[in-house]
């Protein structure tokens, strides 16, 4: 449907994109007692760390191999070894997840080879899982880093079940994309439980980054899915992947352990959730619980109440592919027109975005295309564009550093969709145009009295 074009500029202005190593690091943060480690200079880690701290308002476990100029040129074996030994000694993690960066990729550090040597030299680390993902900064984007990392975790940590094993029909693997919040995952966990299904989320940032006060916490992640739980995911009866970015991980799971999978490209919207509920009902053999029948009815009512405010509105969305697809599809279903769709990286899902064109570009492109729209949807960096354009901004995705509760913004399921209608609908309502005596006078220019002052969400 949509034509996909790439910005022809040499200079990226006001980046929408973030780098893939930190997408990978975030995925590792969904494992319990984990320490993500970026193989690069200390700045690679510190920028990512600050970004996540500001978004989640939580202490973030993220370490660095602290490559100096000399170490980079000579190769980073010593730094990787020292980093692993130091982290293992100081924080006793169950897993260290290593992502490469631009500098170490250019040198061509063979980290897989390093890990083999380190294994041979340090038998005391036998119980520590080490997973390495290649994530050069000069390729792809945040979402790709997350996607590759989850696929790699599946490849390395999921155990092949014995051939004659009877699968646990209630055990389901859930692979959430990077656009799902800890709140989304909690919501999904409840839904699965209502069908008497036992989901294993990989990654599960709902335990580690949901903003709670832990009784006892460690310098590593203090929640998430354990290495042992990941190993036994091969015994599950089914895999559900959420977002096109998770297809690779779902395929890896099928290859490795023979678990059949379904990819749901989104879980926001009435039809999408109907399909999801029907699927859960099918794999669990249980009818849709009364609670969700009621929630569906509430969503339908919210759509009826809300459509007055959504219909005919033009919107601009700047987000990573799966989030862009989710929001543009849902808002189109509510009667909006997507006038500008800007994203960070390629994905098969982009062709299905309900817009004439999807641009792989930056927030300068976004700002140019968003002029005249009723609403902007992008991450917190859209605030400058919103101010200049005088158009309200509804913050979505990561980073969200100038609002509270980023981790608990829920937009999946019937209830999440219902609440999203209320939140965005309220922004539209706040923009309500007050009539002016001259509004209908011939020759009157509507733009003069325009809209109420822009109140950024």
């Amino acid at each position: 449907m949509a034509k996909i074009v790439t910005s022809k500029k040499s200079c990226t202005v006001n980046s929408l994109k973030m780098s893939q190593p930190i997408g990978g690091a975030l995925a590792f943060m969904g494992l319990r007692n984990a320490m993500p480690l970026l193989h690069g200079s200390q700045g690679c880690t510190s920028f990512g760390l600050v970004l996540f701290v500001r978004h989640f308002r939580e202490a973030i476990p993220l370490q660095t191999t602290a490559m100096s100029e000399v170490a980079t040129v000579l190769g980073g074996f010593d730094n990787v070894e020292q980093a692993i030994v130091n982290i293992a000694g100081r924080t006793k993690p169950d897993i260290i997840g290593i992502c490469s960066t631009g500098v170490t990729e250019i040198k061509g550090d063979d980290v897989e080879g390093y890990i083999k040597q380190i294994r041979a030299r340090h038998p005391e680390l036998d119980n520590l899982a080490l997973v390495y993902v290649s994530t050069p900064d000069f390729k792809d984007a945040f979402e790709d880093g997350w996607s590759k990392t989850v696929a790699k975790i599946v490849d390395e940590l999921v155990k092949e079940p014995p051939a004659d094993m009877a699968r646990n029909s209630w055990q389901v693997n859930v692979l959430p994309g990077s656009h799902l919040t800890p709140g989304d995952i909690d919501e999904l966990r409840e839904i699965f439980a209502a069908f008497d299904l036992e989901p294993t989320f990989l990654p599960d940032i709902s335990g580690s980054l949901d903003g709670h006060v832990p009784d006892e916490f460690t310098p590593t992640t203090h929640g998430g899915v354990s290495v042992g739980e990941v190993a036994s995911m091969g015994r599950a009866a089914a895999t559900i992947a959420i977002g096109e970015q998770m297809r690779a991980a779902a395929e890896a799971m099928e290859r490795k352990a023979g678990v059949p999978y379904v990819v749901f490209d989104r879980l926001t919207g009435l039809a999408a959730n109907d399909e999801f509920m029907a699927h859960l009902s099918r794999i669990s053999g249980r009818p849709v619980p009364a609670k969700y029948r009621r929630q569906r009815s509430q969503l339908v009512d919210a759509m009826l109440d809300g459509h007055f405010f959504f219909g005919g509105k033009t919107i601009a969305i700047g987000a990573e592919p799966d989030l862009l697809f989710t929001l543009s599809s849902f808002l189109t279903e509510m009667g909006c027109t997507v006038a500008a769709a800007v994203t960070t990286t390629t994905s098969p899902v982009l062709a299905r975005v309900p817009a004439e064109e999807v641009l792989i570009g930056d927030l300068e492109d976004f700002e140019a295309r968003a002029a005249g729209c009723d609403l902007l949807l992008t991450h917190s960096h859209g605030r400058q564009a919103a101010e200049r354009l005088g158009i309200p901004l509804y913050r979505v995705g990561l980073p969200m550093f100038d609002r509270l509760g980023a981790a608990h913004q829920v937009s999946v399921g019937y209830r999440g969709t219902r609440d999203l209608i209320f939140q965005i609908g309220n922004v539209f309502m706040a923009q309500g145009h007050e009539p002016h005596p001259d509004d209908w006078r011939p020759g009157h220019d509507h733009s003069v009295h325009g809209h109420a002052p822009a109140t950024a969400h």
């Binding site: 200079c11 990226t12 660095t64 100096s68 980079t72 006892e216």
Partner: protein, 557 residues
């Protein structure tokens, strides 16, 4: 790369730095950069440092040459404010891709500079080198030169790729870029005998504006602030100032010192934090201006203004004193400016715990900085239970620290205030001091603390009680496993080489050591950044006096 290597040697060898001059020739060569520990390091890189130092220049375009990580993950995240142009908040990066890596990124950089100039027409473009183009050998200096000639605009190379060192080094390399390419390249429209430069002030949260009205009133003109709320033309013509104040001791000392050498601009190191320090700084500015030819009457007016402002500040602070006197603050930070907050808090009767400093002399301040600088890294990943113990042992009411430790403090349900870079409130000048005290009061008096410390109805013991029990158990186990000297074994003296007090004491006694250098030779302590040499001296001083024979023997050996 050799020029960059030379540059780094040059900034390490800083004659205006007392600490540096106290080092031996060999030590000095090693530079003041701490050896980073893989898997145990924290903090930004040299590129980050360069960006922090220069981004506050508001009207120039800051173009980052590198892959998306360097700029895409970090842009628009600092609180430097502008009174004019907002171009500095627009993010520019070459976002290098695989093709650039293979064929070199120079062409993309050149085109990017052109696009920036065509679209935004800034007075200058600052181009930041990062690790990836440094690795593949992009000659950023040459591209900048060619672009400057082609487009008739200053294009300033900032050569500070992340992997050459930490933030602090980047601050200085940014200073070198200004010295090499900007300062002295333009002339001011006019000059006055009251022109000053302020160096190392970034106008975070608008702090410069808390001070500027006072300078305006005295007729003192800030010819250039490097770099807070700065404009290109001001920095380019800053060499015509009469005197300079250097705000942040370590960050840009090279600018202050070299401008003194090149243009004869005398400078002093001062601070805008705290009533006393603020007054001292105003006096120093007046004194130096008078030395350089301003009329003597400036001092009278300055003293009158100081008297008026101090009286006003004290009157405002007085309201807080009954509420805050005797409150204890645990101040933990590696932040470069925050040490000057100490004297400020003491002025309103707040007690600083964790140091034994009563009255802040200049040497004491150096000491606080030393202590804070080293402890800051230690608490970065302190579990809340131990944080709670630390606060309890110190009997502290509130903790002041940098952003990284925020959540550790909050999860221990302890009032906390940000005094580092990312903070949202301005604490400079007389007004800022009142604001800081107001913030502390707000934090302490907030009713949430009592509520969040309430145990949940289903828990029989409180979190605090459990933490106390766990801490007591841990201490008992430690004592059992390591014997009576566990405590001194646990007290780390040299962070770089990871040497504890017990080990140093034993070595000093066993080998009858008398100097820090001997200690370093024996067990490495003091061989990293050298920051612990004072504490090693203390141990040497504390160790029981040796029999004369032993001393001779050690010297003979």
């Amino acid at each position: 790369m050799t020029t960059l290597a030379n540059k780094i040697q040059e900034v390490f060898n800083e004659p205006a730095c007392g600490k540096n001059q106290a080092k031996s020739e060999k030590e000095r060569k090693k530079g003041c950069t701490k050896q980073l520990q893989p898997g145990g390091a924290a903090g930004g890189c040299a590129f980050d440092g360069a960006k922090i130092a220069l981004q506050p220049l508001t009207d120039v375009a800051h173009l980052v040459h590198g892959p998306i990580a360097c700029e895409g993950n970090s842009w628009d995240n600092r609180g430097a404010k502008s009174s004019g142009s907002r171009l500095y908040r627009t993010s520019f990066t070459t976002d290098m891709n695989e093709t650039d890596i293979v064929f070199g990124g120079e062409k993309r950089l050149f085109k990017s500079i052109k696009e920036v100039i065509d679209k935004y027409d800034p007075p200058a473009v600052f181009v930041y080198q990062t690790c990836v183009p440094a690795m593949i050998g992009d000659d950023v200096g040459a591209v900048c030169k060619a672009a400057a000639e082609k487009f008739g605009k200053p294009v300033i190379p900032v050569i500070s790729p992340g992997f050459v060192g930490p933030k602090n080094l980047g601050n200085k390399l940014a200073g070198e870029a200004l010295l090499d390419h900007v300062i002295g390249t333009e002339e001011p429209e006019y000059t006055t005998p009251y022109d000053i430069n302020i160096i190392g002030e970034y106008n975070l949260a608008g702090e410069l504006w808390q001070v500027k009205p006072l300078l305006d009133e005295l007729g003192i003109r800030v010819l250039s602030c490097i770099s807070g709320d700065g404009r290109y033309h001001e920095v380019a013509s800053s060499h015509r100032a009469r005197v300079a104040m250097m705000c942040c001791s370590t960050a840009m000392i090279n600018i202050a010192r070299k401008m003194e050498e090149r243009y004869g601009i005398p400078f002093f190191e001062g601070s805008f934090y705290g009533v006393g320090d603020m007054s001292d700084s105003l006096r120093q500015i007046a004194r130096l201006l008078i030395q350089r030819g301003a009329p003597d009457e400036l001092m009278e007016r300055t003293e009158a203004l100081i008297a008026r402002e101090e009286a006003k500040a004290w009157a405002s602070l007085k309201a807080y004193m009954p509420r805050l006197a005797g409150k204890k603050v645990l101040l933990i930070t590696g932040g470069v400016k925050s040490w000057s907050v100490v004297s400020a808090l003491q002025e309103v009767g707040i007690e600083i715990v964790g140091t034994s400093i009563k009255k802040s002399t200049k040497e004491d301040k150096e000491r606080i900085k030393e202590i804070m600088g080293n402890d800051a890294h230690m608490i970065d990943d302190l579990p809340p239970r131990q944080m709670y113990k630390m606060l309890k042992d110190a009997k502290a009411d509130i903790m002041l620290s940098g952003g990284r430790t925020q959540f550790v403090a909050l999860k221990a349900k302890m009032p906390w205030l940000d005094i580092n870079q990312e903070r949202h409130y301005a604490y400079a000048g007389y007004a800022g001091m009142v604001a800081l005290v107001n913030e502390i009061d707000k934090a302490l008096s907030n009713p949430v603390w009592q509520q969040v410390r309430r145990p949940a109805p289903w828990t029989e013991t409180t979190w605090e009680a459990r933490a106390d029990a766990a801490n007591a158990l841990e201490a008992a186990q430690l004592a059992e496993s390591q014997g009576p000297d566990a405590e001194r074994r646990a007290r780390r003296i040299c962070n770089c080489r990871n040497v504890n007090a017990g080990a140093i004491e034993d070595t000093v006694r066993a080998h009858a050591l008398t100097t820090v250098a001997q200690v370093t030779e024996r067990i490495g302590a003091g061989g990293g950044c050298g920051g612990c040499s004072e504490r090693i001296s203390d141990i040497l001083a504390r160790s029981s006096p040796l029999p004369a024979g032993a001393e001779r023997a050690s010297q003979a050996a």
